[in-house]
Amino acid sequence: MINEETGAALDAPAFPQERTCPYEPPPGYAELRERGPLSKITLFDGRTAWVVTGHAEARSLLVDSRISADTQNPDFPFLSQARAATTRQRTIVTMDPPEHDVHRRMLIPSFTLRKINALRPTIERVVDELLDGITARRPPLDLVSEFAVPVPSMVICALLGVPYDDHEFFERQTRRIAISANDRTDAMAALGELFGYLDGLVKSKEEDPGDGLLDELIESQLRPGNLTREEIILTSIVLLLAGHENTANMIALGTVTLLRHPAELDALRADPELISGAVDELLRYTAVADTMSRVATADIEIAGHVIRAGDGVILPNAAINRDAAAFADPDRFDVRRSPVRHHNTFGYGVHQCLGQHLARLELEIVFSRLFERLPTLRLAVPVEELEIKPAGGAQGVFELPVTW
């Protein structure tokens, strides 16, 4: 049987699904969960795929060597035309072990807890300077373009050694990639422009090295021939995009979530020690990186089902993070929740977010300082009026008008 509106089989609802509240899962996830930890959904191209809503099942699949992130596999399940076009490259995100691990090991020395903690003064300065500018202005203003995007963007530029003067250029390209859910051509054009930009930057750095991660990669990987120029460029694009997009969305949605839960915000203000757990609870609750996709390369028995070789597997974190078997009273936002770090917003298994310590540190500093400097911060429009980013990509809002 077919649903006439969406063309999806009735026992396999259409996916991805749009959010109706910026920080809550799409309403349809409740129905997916009722169907059990694994069920079927229908993708934009009419294919069906598995959807995983169970936390234990998601963790077990994400570490299973029969599950692949390889977007060049002809059976890989894409969430939209544009995603199919822009995510086909072989990068750390789409490689499987053992190739993946070789590339990841080149990057992990720069992302250890200790290295990231050493960035604290840099991040604090970035956040304080932006807030100095904001508090000197008259409200209202758009917190996304004035704060949520610049913070991670400045930080990742500093880390990589990319001139921040060029930030408007690559923020515009990232935005084009993020919003063009159904416009394949525009997404590809934006990716092409980013590629051209980084190609030029790598060339100029080869002649005139600086002291960023990109310079280190050129020295330690490009010169000895461990990585090709194209691989270096793709790695930089992954880091630039991953480094600011999700974090920016998280700053915006985290702010909305805290403003909409005043008792929790008060608790956090009264006890700054809660910040680290509160950040993980915000990550769990808003699940900005909602969906991860994989393809099975062999049959897998799980939860009374058999995932066949070639089946697509979709893992929506906004559902996985609300599994009552893993989080008591999962729909409650609770800054004191413990344990909380086992949420899936950074993924799990070999691809678990490389930048998670950086993201957490940025978010801890942001949410501590923001409400300290702007104690009367509030939304300037009703939350229902915020325009939510399209389903299937990073979740967030395009603008966040605030006043104080």
Binding site: P109, R114, R341, G349, V350, C353, Q356
Partner: protein, 74 residues
């Protein structure tokens, strides 16, 4: 050695070849685990004190690449 061996205090082992540097261990149990300059796991205290055992169990649960184990004698 497994949990049932009954001999000696619990010991930690870590496999740097499996470790992909997610750093969950150093975050959960900073007195027991650290990350090397290359980003992979180092065990600071192979026979950790009892008060760190819960942190170690958390680290093992959170480690995304099953790189650490704990032969607890309980």
């Amino acid at each position: 050695m497994s949990a049932g061996d009954g001999g000696g205090p619990p010991r930690i082992s870590a496999d740097p070849d499996r470790c992909l540097g997610a750093g969950q261990c150093a975050r959960s149990a900073p007195d027991v685990f650290d990350q090397d300059d290359d980003g992979t796991v180092v065990v600071l205290r192979p026979d950790p004190p009892t008060e760190t055992h819960d942190q170690i169990r958390e680290a093992i649960y959170l480690c995304p690449s099953s790189a650490i184990s704990f032969d607890a004698a309980e």
